[in-house]
Amino acid sequence: MNNFEYSRATDVADAVRQIAADPAAKFIAGGTNLIDLMKYDVERPARLIDITRLPLKSVEETRDGGVRIGALVPNSDLAYHPLIEQRYPLLSSAILAGASAQLRNMASTGGNLLQRTRCFYFYDVATPCNKREPGSGCAAINGINRINAILGTSEACIATHPSDMCVALAALEAKVHVMGPSGERSIAFEDFHRLPGDTPHLDNNLGPNEVVTAIELPAEGYAANYSYLKIRDRLSYAFALVSVAAALKLDGGRIKEARLALGGVAHKPWRNRDAEAALRGEAPGRAAFEKAAAALLAGAKGYSHNSFKIGLARRAIIRTLTQAANATPQIQSVKKIR
């Protein structure tokens, strides 16, 4: 861990001013990932700008029936917020599938989006990693890649985004509100995170001097038919090998609208319109779910140790859609898969 300056931002504009003034600075909120990365010497910020006192801690209904979540709302507060529990239980469930109670208490909503990959090579500064050190190579491609990506990979990087919460936000089509030197803008969730391509050091499309201020959820929360299913190597305290967020709107025995996203398989929460289109208008059931799984996994490519994820993801998608259709969502405190 290196020596660093520490300062506090007094308001959002001040935060933006401070980060723009120091290219080697980073924001810190919960610090649940950044502090680890500093201890591992992966991140070496010259300055930490503490944004925990910014007034971004409320969860409010929007005029169009959605919900706006301040970037500094702790993950645990968000998971148990009545508005979220009642109207967006998929989001609540995804949050509770991740990390531990202690980490969720510290972690912020905005920070959850910005957590970095758990690829073993990214964390070990003695090995090459294009994400950590552009141009140094990807050791995971031919290395221990059991936890790595099967979709949207590149020659340069096969890292995954480790968040559970983001998988639900992708399925729910959230928007990310950010503030930068040239003012406010919002980014559609699917455009927020990037695929690695030949710039794997860039996780997302947040500008260098921008700060996440809020996440906005649309009015439709799919509260009746949803499920978040996370498959991992032990029953808690582990990142997803594969996770699935499924949300359905049923009407007269048919699927009227569907949302489907995968975690643990790509550099961003993985969605595609074909998979959702394959469900629309169909009767909920194995045939339709298999088609959707095939569509969502189109182009999936396994590496030396992670090819199993393709089949696992297919089965997990079918299972999660079944749970959603039956209104028997996975309950995160119960480890038996429903």
């Binding site: 050791a139 221990i144 305290y237 089949g311 089965r315 997990a316 038996k336 898969i337």
Partner: protein, 734 residues
């Protein structure tokens, strides 16, 4: 007063531990303490061409950077580095000794600073240039170098011929990956510079006197000048048996700076220490149609380092446990460019019995026989290797009580025949075996006239409950209430003790206490008999007991004198006795603990997610001193067995020679969600042969066989046999 031995007694050090009063090696304060952070090698093999510490030294607060080029003098001979637990022969690793890099993660520099944060930061600034050599860290890639070590165990009959002619055969290879101990407490040493060349060393270790001898050897120091303390240890499981490099580095720092130095390893650096070696176990079993074994062949191939041969008895358990007229065993090693492996809970047995008991399960399937029935048909009342009867062996009773508690008779024999909704249910079982060892330990009793006793021995309590059982044994032997006994452990100046390992501490230390208490009683009696009108006159030492603060006739409790009165009469404030355990040589008996483990798993049929929903472990381990701490030991072993079966694996990238999951987020051990119902049964096992108290020890037996029981349950649930651990969901093909 009811005896304390045999009761469920809470830890006497429990309050100190939960309130923070109990101090660990990295917590002791010292005036003017400097802090050392370790720099480790990022290559696996080669030499250090250059170390540039200038950037580190330029940081304010950095005191020095020690490397092989500027360290204080260290001994030159291998013998000086060979601690009590080191393998015979070979060349023990010497931290910061020369420019050779022998394994990845090897310590190569120590940054000393005024505070910990500065040391850690400066350590990242040390620049190292290497000349790198080719290397090998993969056991499977170097099997052609496997060679037999030690003396091959004696074969019986002709196993190959018997196997070829057997009615039913099973032959398979099982694999256990390298596993790390992962104690919660990081390795740490605080070396206190007392001046005058005297050092007090607080070290995380399972043997303070071993560390003391080692430090004296490595640095040419006089034993009187080095005191090693380890009053509390936050888990060790074998990794603290041999002195680790933190104590060498902290001592180097103290000698160089002539001030006190603390070194604490990082969690990642803990994966540069020793580990349970990856092992391939080849098991061949041949049986007649009735299920009697006729041939056992067992070959273990394990990894070791290039500089030492570490081997444990993986094959020998098969040799011992089951009756078979023909048997053949071998243990082979493959040297790799790694740190030497070391003992980890039930070394050799956790791995060897895993493979043996899976093989027995597979043989039972081939025989269409209940797995428990097969064990009973192959049951042996004698150690098959030596032919000796056991001092006691209640394994049959373990099978019976364990099966009953588990409900084994309700098992449907076919795989995939039991279900619970979307989950397949599997029931598996296995036997466990460990040695009942005992070692020379000494203990001192200081009895004071106010009715208090202090018991001391250099033994360590690695979290197992030694403080508590020492107090219990002493309380009973001296006739005192438990809270009138205090216990001092983990100090090299105390009476001699071996390292805490092998499950031998309970039996050994108890025996020493019994002997010392004998001497106390004898002396008290001789004084009491000089009292005018002594009610004890004419009685021999064996005719009296210490009970309820008095010395009393065994046959007539009315004939008694208060100990306080005896001591007053003898004009003594304190009575001090020190004795060793003096186990009688016994070559007429085999001495072992045994267990039977029954496990239930539920496997999601579609997704392969495995849950261990129930485990029953029935243990025969002689007399249990404390049913609470002993049950905790067994339960901990079962949890570890769950991890061994389903989670644990050091993932080494053999292109780099580095463990890539070198942290406890990615090196998985069971968490609460993975642990369900565990029932521990202690089977009554009187043993008047092994030692007067009939104590055997329970440290290791809890893990032995658990992984096999779970693997066998997974087979029963799914019909799929996974022979390489851990059984992760991707290995269950669908």
């Amino acid at each position: 007063m009811a005896p304390s031995i045999g009761t469920s007694t809470s830890r006497v050090d429990g309050r100190a531990k939960v309130t923070g009063l109990a101090k660990y090696a990295g917590e002791f304060a010292a005036p003017d303490l400097a802090y050392g952070a370790v720099v480790t090698s990022t290559i696996t093999k080669g030499r250090i061409a250059r170390i540039d510490a200038s950037s580190a030294l330029a940081i304010r607060g950095v005191l020095d950077v020690l490397t092989h080029t500027n360290r204080p003098k260290m001994a030159a001979g291998d013998d000086d580095y060979r601690d009590d637990v080191a393998p015979e022969g070979g060349s023990p690793f010497r931290p910061l000794y020369d420019d050779r890099v022998k394994f990845n993660g090897q310590p190569i520099a120590l940054v000393l600073a005024e505070d910990w944060e500065t040391a850690v930061f400066a350590a990242t600034l040390v620049q190292v240039d290497y000349e790198e050599d080719g290397f090998a860290t993969d056991l499977h890639a170097r099997l052609e170098q496997a060679h037999t070590v030690d003396k091959p165990q004696k074969p019986r009959g002709d196993a190959a011929k018997a196997f070829a002619g057997a009615a039913v055969r099973h032959d398979a290879e099982y694999f256990i990956p390298a596993e790390y101990h992962n104690p919660m407490e990081l390795f740490a040493a605080t070396v206190v510079w007392n001046g005058g060349g005297k050092l007090t060393i607080y070290d995380k270790t399972q043997g303070v006197q071993n560390v003391q001898r080692y430090v004296c050897g490595v640095f040419g120091l006089k034993p009187d000048d080095v005191r090693v303390m380890s009053p509390f240890v936050g888990g060790a499981f074998g990794i603290g048996l041999r002195p680790q490099y933190e104590v060498v580095l902290a001592t180097l720092g103290a000698l160089k700076l002539k001030r006190s130095v603390r070194v604490v390893l990082s969690r990642a650096q803990m994966y540069g220490l020793s580990y349970r070696p990856a092992t391939i176990e080849r098991v061949s079993l041949g049986a007649n149609a009735g299920g009697a074994l006729d041939a056992v062949a067992y070959e273990a191939v394990a990894m070791t380092s290039q500089h030492e041969e570490f081997s444990r008895n993986d094959a020998g358990w098969a040799e011992q446990l089951y009756a078979s007229p023909n048997a053949r065993y071998a243990h082979k090693l493959v040297p790799l460019d790694v740190m030497t492996p070391c003992d980890m809970r039930a070394p050799g047995a956790a791995t060897g019995v895993y493979a043996l008991e899976c093989a027995m399960d597979e043989l039972a399937v081939a025989l269409k026989l209940d797995p428990l029935q097969l064990r009973l048909r192959c049951y042996s009342d004698r150690d098959q290797e030596s032919g000796l009867p056991y001092s006691s062996k209640q394994l049959k009773e373990c099978y019976r009580q364990g099966a009953e508690a588990f409900g084994w008779d309700r098992r449907s024999p076919s795989p995939r025949s039991m279900r619970d909704g979307s989950e397949l249910v599997g029931w598996g079982m296995a036997s466990g075996v460990w040695e009942a060892l005992q070692m020379p330990f000494s203990a001192r009793i200081i009895l004071t006239a106010n009715g208090h006793a202090e018991i001391s021995t250099a033994a360590t309590d690695i979290g197992t409950g030694t403080y508590t059982i020492v107090a219990q044994v002493a309380a009973d032997m001296l006739g005192l209430p438990l809270d009138s006994v205090t216990v001092k452990l983990g100090d090299s100046t105390l009476p001699t003790a071996q390292v805490e390992g092998g499950s031998w501490t309970a039996a050994s230390v108890a025996h020493a206490i019994v002997n010392a208490a004998d001497d106390v009683r004898k002396e008290l009696l001789s004084i009491a008999q000089t009292m005018p009108g002594s009610p004890l006159s004419g009685l021999a030492p064996d005719d009296v007991v210490l009970a309820d603060g008095a010395l009393a006739s065994k046959s007539d409790g009315g004939r008694a004198v208060a100990v306080a009165d005896v001591m007053r009469h003898g004009k003594m404030e304190r009575l001090e006795k020190e004795r060793s355990s003096d186990f009688k040589e016994d070559d007429k008996h085999a001495r072992n603990t045994h267990s039977a483990i029954f496990a239930e798993v539920k496997v999601d049929e579609e997704l392969g997610v495995i849950r261990v929903t129930r485990v029953v472990s029935a243990v025969a381990a002689g007399r249990i001193i404390n049913t609470k701490t002993a049950a905790s030991q067994i339960m901990g072993g079962v949890v570890w067995g769950i991890g061994m079966a389903l989670h644990e694996e050091a993932l080494t990238d053999h292109a780099f020679g580095r463990v890539m999951n070198a942290n406890i987020a990615e090196y998985h051990v069971p968490v609460n969600a993975d642990v369900h119902d565990i029932k521990v049964i202690f089977v009554d096992e009187p043993d008047s042969v092994i030692n007067p108290m009939g104590i055997k020890g329970v440290g290791e037996i809890g893990i032995v066989g658990v992984a096999a029981a779970i693997a066998n349950a997974v087979y029963h649930a799914t019909g799929q046999r996974v022979r390489d651990l851990p059984i992760t969901l991707d290995k269950l093909a669908r």
